[in-house]
Symmetry: none
Subunit: 216 residues, 4 copies
Amino acid sequence: MHPDSKDERNSKTEERRNQILDAATVCLARKGYYETKMDDIVAESGLSKGTLYLYFKSKKEIFVALSECFTETLNARIEANLEGKTTLIERMRAMADGYVQTTSSTATDASGNAVNISRLTAEFWQQAVVDPEIRARFIEAYRFYTKMGEDLIKAAVASGEFREVDIPTLMLVVMAAFDGLTWRWLLTPEEVDWPHAIDLLFEVLLNGVRAIPNSG
Amino acid sequence: MHPDSKDERNSKTEERRNQILDAATVCLARKGYYETKMDDIVAESGLSKGTLYLYFKSKKEIFVALSECFTETLNARIEANLEGKTTLIERMRAMADGYVQTTSSTATDASGNAVNISRLTAEFWQQAVVDPEIRARFIEAYRFYTKMGEDLIKAAVASGEFREVDIPTLMLVVMAAFDGLTWRWLLTPEEVDWPHAIDLLFEVLLNGVRAIPNSG
Amino acid sequence: MHPDSKDERNSKTEERRNQILDAATVCLARKGYYETKMDDIVAESGLSKGTLYLYFKSKKEIFVALSECFTETLNARIEANLEGKTTLIERMRAMADGYVQTTSSTATDASGNAVNISRLTAEFWQQAVVDPEIRARFIEAYRFYTKMGEDLIKAAVASGEFREVDIPTLMLVVMAAFDGLTWRWLLTPEEVDWPHAIDLLFEVLLNGVRAIPNSG
Amino acid sequence: MHPDSKDERNSKTEERRNQILDAATVCLARKGYYETKMDDIVAESGLSKGTLYLYFKSKKEIFVALSECFTETLNARIEANLEGKTTLIERMRAMADGYVQTTSSTATDASGNAVNISRLTAEFWQQAVVDPEIRARFIEAYRFYTKMGEDLIKAAVASGEFREVDIPTLMLVVMAAFDGLTWRWLLTPEEVDWPHAIDLLFEVLLNGVRAIPNSG
DNA sequence: TATGAATGAGAATTCATTCAT
DNA sequence: TATGAATGAATTCTCATTCAT
């Protein structure tokens, strides 16, 4: 009946969903899943309670949507960072940087204040332990990055740059180091100097710490 | 009235506290902090609700006490493992093993079933992000193990076994790898082979993965 | 602008109202008044929510209109059945049959499936207990049929076919038997064989069950 | 630990349950199931909301308990009325009277006012149509009384007092008449004179209304 | 007329904590 | 000390109705 009615409706719907997800992001970053009440999201979003339930059928569904959103952002950022990077180290750093950028970005709340959203990662993780649905998403994302990293290492081994090594376990440990740094950073941000830590991680990864290399 | 001596009262008190903490351990391992209700702990402990509040003034206090308990157990286990270990690698493995043993042990519930308590770590961590009091304890424990590890590395550097390296950052990254493996293990236990991962971690840590060591 | 004549507008209005009432009939038959949500009627009618409120000012008003509708259908059916019936028993059966036919008919839902509407009777009744407005309509309908039945009995008494009897109370009891059968039928449809029950009702009504009639 | 502790607790529990059921009775009689809010029962009972949920796990469960209660009262009353009654008519009247007494009794609300509880029957019935669990109870109660009535009629037929008749259908119709009168009485209490209606029902049941009995 | 997104006043239920016994 | 019944504020979710377009 109206021009572009369908498109317009879609974009409006998308906008409202984002409005809610933005508000939820801020709330979750501030108080975590359990301490965030629907009323908090209502207040932060500027919408009414009924409207929230019009777009998401439960609190949990907002959370799940948020975790999808987060993963998408992470993927996009990593993809962007990989653009033009060719060497192994460059590419691994691109991934690491994408992770850190996403994890350490900020959102803007209703009053225009910047809110550090690093805590979101912790919330997703925690819920992944609890909730099978979120866990499944998490695992999927993990597999994706694991594959990406393993391919890089495989290429390095094939090219003779790296020696023979148990690639899956190596990748597991490297990713664990990143995850662990993320958690540590949530607890004591002042003690985690990301760029420095990543530099050292790669440097030690390549060369080890032994004084006399295993040449003799 | 001599049976009511102070010692007896203390030991009785201690016993009751442990009874409650054991019950809470089982509940938390099963359902996590938020999904564990005081009634669950009451049922698991076999005590009455009033009695719980006689020994702990809130749900949170039980949790805090539990995290202390956990840290103590961890410390004791690591200490025991270090007994007689002298070389750097032996001592680092002793620490790592103590961590894994504690994190992956089981508790026995009221019906005599073994309950895997690995989830407790996640709960403590999560609450550490949320709650300053728990965070403080966490940080303290971290400092302790950081110090222990750094001293080991320092000695290795001093003895010429290790080359010069940024010790705090190295220790940060190593601990992060452990923490990350713990989280990963909570999500996909079948993908984390602890002994294998620790072996590779130490091996790569020492030697790096570069094919031609930086000797020429 | 002549197509917008008053008649056409009226018929359009009538059509829309019927569309809504048909949808409401199906919903009420399926879920009852309280469990039927306006959204259900919206979905079933294929109209929008705003439009419903354009034709009926509330959920209750739809219900009231439906009960009117139902009564009209019942009346029409009974009137049709009475056509050409002259004897007392024939006419009483005509009424009974009209009642059973209406109560046990089906409606067709949006997907073309037949929906048994017997539950509507229960809903009207229930709401008649609750709501004075619906009760008033109910009582009016009752009076109409009571009058009709009483006139038949009166004629039978006058003609000597029936003995002297308390006509209002007799009619009350006979109608009660029908109403009771309707409720019973809603609960245990398999136990209510309407034609058989009506036959027996009339037979016993006429002759009683006493073995030796009060002739001696 | 205390004398009679178990008994005391049981009687206390029973008392509280009754307190809640009494309050619910009054509320249901006044407003019906759907319009009765938990807050209404809270206010009427003088207890707190939490306490209600301590004794009943949901609103529906209160309702189910109430319907059990009601059936028990009905049974008890009928049993008491049957005491010493031997003839068929006496026994059927005893049943009918028990039904009417129970259905038309009053409860006393928190302010000491008498509340007519006749509406409860309608509520149970309505919910029996909706809810399988309540329906099952209803059907069971029906079977019980049907059996009792059928046995009476069977005996009357055996003794030659009644002629051969389709006993189940007769009983169905007689019970339907009672149920129908109950509903009618809810709608227009002033038009239902129970004793009179029952007298006529039995009189017509025995003798029929035909002027010249089917003797010649 | 027709639409359907938005609303917000309720509703049922939960659960940590208290307190009389 | 020990108990466990009682509490009520807080929480999630619902849904009849409105109203700008």
